[in-house]
Symmetry: C2
Subunit: 420 residues, 2 copies
């Protein structure tokens, strides 16, 4: 590109109609002039060729993505051993791009193709790039459903207020037939669990057909609710081909599921959105494939982007890789995802953040202290279903751990001098 062409991809944010643009934050490493690289990033993700040969026209004013914030610093080497090491001096660059959503409209696959597509990862001289965040104008958000129930709706379904929601993944997750599966789930419900859920790997499969599993789980749930006087939910995993999602919703809900689990990246975020339009119960999104896109620093996409998109598509709760060494996610990143669930986002309801991974009664204090709010889901697998005292003892241990924390909170509130 020549100098005037490069400048055509830079704009003053104040000169743009904010309602017409998404804001995208990228960090990238490039060779050569970093402003040229930034202009190419805009060009490739929008008007790659902005005029016909021999025609005096220019599609950039209306359709080009435009740099509205730019900062670069020299670096001595790329941070990753990627192919395509570029020529020229190296820079690390932070940009914010205003991308006109009128190029593609409020469609998830087309949004993904624009902000995470060929025009992002195949920009000349830019082998290392990460989409760090994206922000939507209200006009764009308004086209999406967002959560149907959200945090408050989930609390009402469970009658569980002012505390975390306690979930358990029934284990053994693979191979266990519906009858013993429901039997141990019932034990966990009796011990204090709110929601017994299918593992994200558990499908509608011959050794555990969803129809039978949901029926037995529904019956067990009803018994446990009657015995404890607490409302309970069974969350059925309907992850399957997108052509089957709505039918599986109908089967699972008719038989006894009060919530559904869907692996949103394997199914596709658009499949989640489709299910949301059909669903009569809360949807919990689970995170397979997420780490493949998000773990390597400086590359791919920050997980908060995917959290926002799941909320946009209608996830009432977002199960995400949580705290602790095991999940290999920095605490700040988990917290960014928690905030992406709860922070204001147009008129979309908040989604319940459910950071998970090898949790148990032992980890609850740290998780609660870190999150700093009671609006979260706490999910255990082996922490309940592998507990030495069995699932009932496991679930009771988690509830007891919460009671201790709530008591400490209350004591602290009592000691605090009253201010007016």
């Amino acid at each position: 590109m020549k100098a005037p062409d490069i400048e055509a991809f830079f704009a003053d944010r104040r000169a743009l109609d904010a309602a017409a643009y998404l804001e995208l934050d990228y960090v990238f490493e490039c060779g050569g002039d970093p402003r040229v690289a930034a202009a190419h990033l805009c060009s490739e993700q929008s008007t790659a060729q902005w005029q016909r040969v021999g025609v005096d026209e220019d599609y950039r004013p209306r359709h080009a993505a435009k740099i509205i914030a730019f900062r670069s610093e020299p670096i001595s080497a790329l941070s990753l051993p990627v192919p395509g090491a570029p020529a020229g001096p190296l820079h690390r660059v932070q940009v914010t791009i205003a991308h006109p959503h009128g190029n593609f409209g409020p469609r998830i696959p087309n949004l993904l193709s624009a902000v995470m597509g060929e025009g992002v990862y195949h920009v000349p001289g830019v082998p290392v790039i990460r989409l760090e965040d994206l922000r939507f104008p209200e006009a764009y958000l308004a086209a999406f459903p967002g959560p149907q129930f959200g945090v408050e709706g989930l609390r009402e379904l469970l009658g569980a207020y002012d505390r975390p929601i306690f979930l358990g993944v029934v284990k053994p997750n693979i191979g266990l037939a519906p009858a013993p599966f429901a039997a141990i789930a019932e034990e966990a419900w009796l011990g204090g669990l709110d929601i017994a859920k299918d593992d994200e790997m558990l499908a509608d499969i011959d050794w555990s057909p969803l129809d039978e599993r949901a029926r037995l789980m529904g019956e067990a749930r009803a018994r446990a609710a009657a015995a404890t006087g607490e409302r309970k939910l069974y969350m059925a995993n309907v992850t399957d081909e997108v052509s089957q999602l709505c039918a599986l919703h109908d089967v699972a809900v008719a038989r006894g599921a009060g919530a559904l689990l869907v692996n949103s990246l394997p199914v596709g975020l658009s499949g989640l959105r489709m299910l949301r339009e059909h669903a009569r119960v809360p949807l919990f999104a689970h995170f397979p494939m997420l780490a493949a896109l998000t773990r390597v620093p400086g590359y791919g996409v920050h997980s908060r982007v995917l959290t926002k998109l799941q909320r946009l598509c209608g996830a009432d709760a977002v199960i995400m890789p949580g705290f602790g060494e095991r999940m290999m996610v920095p605490e700040a990143e988990v917290m960014a995802n928690v905030r992406a669930c709860l922070e204001p986002m147009g008129t979309l309801k908040p989604a319940l953040p459910v950071p998970g991974g090898s949790d148990s009664a032992d980890t609850l204090p740290r998780v609660y202290a870190t999150i700093g709010t009671r609006d979260f889901g706490f999910v255990c697998g082996r922490g309940i279903f592998g507990h030495a005292e069995g699932p009932r003892g496991g679930a009771a241990s988690v509830r007891a751990a919460w009671t201790r924390l709530a008591t400490q909170d209350a004591a602290r509130d009592m000691e605090r001098p009253v201010k007016d």
Copy 2:
């Protein structure tokens, strides 16, 4: 895990029923005992907890993923700056895992959740891991449709045999109204293009509704076919919410599209499979998001896995990042993807490989020499629609470049001594 538990995740391939297992090749970097890490990788992606507390049972013989090939070597440091640097001595490990597909069945989202899910990227002590390849038994492949047309079907539709298929991405890709869009496509068809295609970013949008675009493109296609005596195709991009895919297929095909483009990762591979079951025309899969999963060596997934899955789901052609510095993909990786399209895969038809990226008449000789077969698609964007002589001249330049190559081939064949 204790020693006998670890050994339960290792097996002799000859002792397994090959028809019941997928074979997965992973390379990973780990801390601690590499055999323990490999056992955890198997456990986490299958029977994470293989028995109920206090019950004498074991779901591993039938349901566990099992290591059937293992090789490790010490390394001094992880190859990537990922979080979760593990304790203990570091190793780089290559394993082949036999994963029982009866755990989830022939469902793409559940397959992805197993082989690229939490049980792969969140294995204790394994922060760096890549799914290098996967192989399916014929019993599993038989449940999938694969390409409806494949290479031979595409050739028959076009009447184009014994040469590459020539495609052009109509540009300007964003902003151009349907009438001028069709006018320049017609020029390119007249110049020798086989297939004029929508850009992967072009949607069904107010400034270019698919209905009108497909109608005008269909008319232009018919005129160009009559004028040249060659069959021509318009490939319409139907990338949109999965709930709209089949309806957009119907509109596009009814108006004049003879092939469809779908961004398979943004839509979801399962959406591609759904469209395949509905489609009456060839489907071309495009690659947005692919590099986010595949570029970093040693991490994520090798692109050939995604090529195989696109073929499995029914892509008649796989547009992939191609040759040359621009696309930042090593030549060996492009070739692995070309082979994944064309090599035997049960009874599935071959898919046409379409390696693309900044190609033009100038790059055709190198691409053809590298691929070494005429079974490929050659796609130009600015190489045709930004050509100094306009789209007709651009398309003609590509066909002329092919004529030169074919003439050279023929001359070489003439010079070669006849063997019998």
